[in-house]
Symmetry: C2
Subunit: 162 residues, 2 copies
Amino acid sequence: MDRRLPMTEQNPTPPLDQLLHHGQGHRGLTRRVIDAFPEEHLFTYSVGGMRPFGAMAQELLRMSVPTLEGIVSRTWQSNDRDLPVSKQGLLAAWDDDTARIEALWPQIPAGRLQEDDVAFGQWPGKVSWILMYVIDNQIHHRGQGYVYLRALGIEPPAFYER
Amino acid sequence: MDRRLPMTEQNPTPPLDQLLHHGQGHRGLTRRVIDAFPEEHLFTYSVGGMRPFGAMAQELLRMSVPTLEGIVSRTWQSNDRDLPVSKQGLLAAWDDDTARIEALWPQIPAGRLQEDDVAFGQWPGKVSWILMYVIDNQIHHRGQGYVYLRALGIEPPAFYER
């Protein structure tokens, strides 16, 4: 072990453009999950008293672009745009955000991911952690959407297809 | 945009030791989810015809250490150990694996994450993608465990606590 380089130098993790590709692959899958819900269930159906999947997707919309904007600009502002309440509206907003993420991503300042910050003045952490949190939160809630779909008798899209 | 460095040089993603910390934080949360299940429901209760959470946790055990061993050694071997069928057994195996991951992680060869490989001879991709897939798959199934817990009337552990 003595002769090893410090891990940071020895073994960098995927470059940021690969992480964008990874994140956008997850967005594509989440879009297919939204699309798999029948309109009449998207904002009404739930299991165990949890939120309907449409409300979870609204949360993801509230979180994704505003977080990336905060990472890019170092200014944290919640987005108070009206959130979509229909399946078509949700899919359209989702697509808009996917394009905005594509445009914002290359504007992340050099070294920014290793800075400490407080997201929206509330959640302290390294910026890389804040960024991963947004992706992880999407995976988490999407997994819950899979259960709703199965409980509705609908086959969800394959997890490994991105 | 012209004067920017290529993104890879400009903005490396978190170093590998931070990714270990991130992944182990997820393992800690998943352990709390396993622990939140009453013994009598862990391997029997499910929603929508899906697997019980205990079976999902078995899948995570089958996948995590063998994948990391394949990444470290470049040799892909499924682990055919007996999988635990009790809550205590699952938690003990989970803790063993967490320690094994801690020990294996620093052995990832330099540059390995950027290599292409075929995990278990079946799933081709960049090694970083294979590694992320294992973490993402855990988040995905754990999110499903949250629904089961809620449906059982049990408050799941907080997602943001790691």
